[in-house]
Symmetry: C3
Subunit: 368 residues, 3 copies
């Protein structure tokens, strides 16, 4: 899949993979963004992503392209989870993975640690810290409203110490159309009181979420933001990255980079933001994996306006090593196709590939 | 057009055709979504749809592809409305039509009854009941505010008795960004009083429209919802199906299927909803007919995320038999093109064609 | 580039070009919509537009396609600004330019007058008057709140005397989601008082902006409206032309044509508005220039619904003569590609090219 001499890919946003065999349903459940039971006869394999797994992953397991689902699953069991994972991850050709450690299991099965993942994939690993999770873990029954901000701030600084970047899922928690202003300390304390009174669990109070974003930006690490589609927990039109414009402007003086993840179906909007604002970057993460044969079109739409020094590569892979390979193969194939049309000069094409595949991420996250 | 051995198409949302000859202007007026007089020199034939009619329909009338408008209209008159209608409808290759009976004429000319349509098309016919029309027809000068709900509820149950599905045009009446909650009986009575006081005609009161939707869902028949573009009566950005997210979640416990029609230019949003929520389906209806040569791209964009067991086929044809054939031909051509790229395994491609062309609709509407 | 026998292009919305040599940074700054300093290593040349300049313009300067940026800049200096400008403008093949005179310099360098531009380009020139600028220039320290409307109305009528059309940048000033109603005189006077009290400079008061739009429509000249992407000064989702629907309906009785410019990424929405409403037109202006190799896709998406008698051509070129040639070449190439697929009948294709390239503009602006 990954050719000799091809530039090393830096996967700037991913999760880890499960280390144990998954049953049919658990495996299939990681091929869809839905978290609901499906109707009779329906299968997550019946999707662009299902086809993409059969297209790109089957050959790595020594099956023909588009082998049947049954043949694929059987061959995978035959190889065993360790060998299948090893083959799929290595075929993805990743030089480094920036792992969002905010998720620790998939389909009820624990994920490999970032170090284990790196070992299997032969890739360097770096940590991306999910800020809402840090805040949630830092909040205990002992936390008081007036100390919440300090407690969470300390936890964030500690968590960020070994990280190369931060990540926010504010799109899921209150949508991207939030008030851009940094909340005043009294507002934060009042909101913390409400949050703690309701149990202090999942963080959904808009004031606290905004406070957390502003705190995160003070740490001067690139901040990744989920935008666009995801699981049914989000409202799609409230995940349009263009809704962040007020926030993007408000934080511009800080200079901290913002990275808009995924984007679809608002990837053109993300591309414009990346052109318009010097501190804004974007990737297609989850998108290229899911859209399968549509990856060429979606990447091309993004490159209509995204500057070549602002677009990043990621897989957003989660749970299945297949998602690493599909993400990597779909990206490589789509970028090759685009370059074939837009840049018929090999040296120039190679330079652009290098930027988008890894150099932009290396520069942005100050990787070795 | 429709090849031997090709799967039988089930047109899950259409209207009927006129049974009489139309004048030039009346004919042309059915080729555009505009209901306004055009400027001098302008013709609805000068559009992607106009070209599609000349491309797909001319050969069925024994003319070369892209015959001139004049030649096309002359040949059609020569054949007579009955023969032209027969040829065009049969060439569409429809096995069954689900007819929205909410419209009874086009360009001032009565439409064939569903039975007459089925006879000419050699297709089974089933009824889709337009709920707003049922409510409007049930409301008489004698209707009182406190009996409106009961009257309309009775009428809806009666109308649904022989239907396989229901349809709502709430997108036209108040947009899709309506409050998702089921209104309380007192709210409904108050709203009915307002509605009746203003004459009790066209139903536009948001509370009554929401009440009607919730009532419809109790009947457990799939509920089709107009989304995306249409005639100038709607506000496009308020027809984005993603605006339905709150409603989709609120009605999820009922389990009644929702079918998002048309979608364009928000068909990607509809596709995500169909993946995320088990009770949500989508089609491209009006879209593939209108976009002509763009049908391949629009269908491909939809299949980026729409599960193959959730996408349906329809023409949304109305008035002209040409719109049946264009809808059917554009769909078949676009799906073939997509499969050629995404699924180079004939047996697998055939399975997917069968699902989207008719099996999904057969399962959803419990057709024989 | 522009072939013998090709229809004459009427560029229905452009600005002029600089008449003096620009430094590296100033030149590059006109290749991006961002007005911010770029990060280290970043260059506006690293974009679809940068590639498009190297593709379409290099041969006109006798360099190979995709010559390096250094080679391009060196050859341009060698030729001198006058000769490079002459070659690039003539290669654009423009028969007439409708110049928005609201901008008078680019990158700090004065623009050629419309007459000078026409002389170099061998094109007729006509004026488009930017209404917000007229209002701003008409407002002096002597203007009183109760005379603001009369003063500005007079200035607008004077400015329009020699113009073929008007233009509004209300998208930049308050977004397109403004109240559609014509403000009452007292509202206008109150708003003028607020505006004047804050210095009377840049016009951003929504009431005054709306008043200006309604005043402009009374002049019966086509009114161009910026929609879609632009520089970081706008909020993208508030530039969706569909947000204008209320305004489009409110002004429909006046009959004055509205021209939706640029559109991207909402060009499909603009296309629907152009089909739905007889007084609405659209172009792709800034878009085709910027998206480079993506121009074929974006034009095809627009032609999904835009009637052929409603789509216009423009470059929105500003500052650099390269932007005229890129806009013209991208449009011609994209339209040719679309016709090759959608209209395989040469005479018919030629008729459609003629409409979109210039006849629609000639009819709309009543050009000789």
């Amino acid at each position: 899949m990954h050719e000799l001499g091809a530039p090393v890919l830096i996967d700037q946003h991913c999760h880890s993979v499960v280390g144990a065999e998954l049953g049919e349903d658990a495996f299939a459940s990681l091929l869809t963004e839905s978290d609901r039971p499906l109707g009779p006869g329906a299968s997550p394999w019946d999707s662009a992503l299902g086809l993409a797994v059969r297209r790109w992953c089957a050959p790595v397991l020594e099956l023909p392209q588009f082998a049947s689902v049954e043949a694929y699953r059987e061959r995978r069991r035959e190889l065993g989870v360790a060998e299948a994972t090893r083959r799929l991850l290595r075929a993805a050709g990743l030089g480094a993975c920036l792992v969002d450690t905010g998720l620790t299991e998939a389909a009820g099965v624990p994920l490999l640690s970032p170090e284990e993942l790196g070992g299997v994939a032969h890739a360097d690993v770096h940590e991306i810290v999910r800020i809402e999770r840090v805040a949630e873990l830092a909040t205990t029954p002992a936390t008081a409203a007036h100390t919440w901000a300090a407690t969470v701030g300390d936890a964030l600084r500690r968590a960020a110490r070994n990280a190369v970047g931060l990540k926010s899922v504010v799109a899921y928690r209150c949508g991207l159309d939030f008030d851009a202003r940094r909340p005043a300390p009294a507002e934060v304390a009042n909101a913390a009181a409400v949050h703690l009174a309701s149990g202090g669990g999942r963080l959904t109070h808009p004031v606290l979420l905004r406070h957390l974003l502003w705190e995160a930006l003070e740490l001067r690490l690139p901040l990744q933001l989920h935008t666009g589609f995801g699981d049914p927990d989000l409202v799609l039109h409230r995940s349009d990255p263009s809704l962040l414009t007020g926030f993007i402007r408000a934080v511009e003086p800080l200079g901290t980079p913002l990275v808009l993840l995924h984007g679809w179906p608002y990837h053109r909007q993300a591309a414009w933001l990346a052109q318009a604002f010097p501190h804004v970057y974007c990737d297609l993460g989850l998108t290229l994996t899911h859209v399968g044969a549509g990856a060429r079109r979606v990447l091309a739409e993004t490159l209509e306006l995204a500057p070549f020094h602002k677009l990043l590569f990621s897989t957003d892979a989660y749970g299945l090593p297949e998602l690493y390979l599909v993400g990597s193969a779909a990206f490589t194939d789509a970028l090759d196709a685009w370059l074939g049309e837009a840049v018929p000069v090999p040296a120039e094409a190679a330079r652009i590939v290098a930027l988008i595949s890894g150099e932009n991420a290396r520069r942005l996250y100050k990787l070795p």
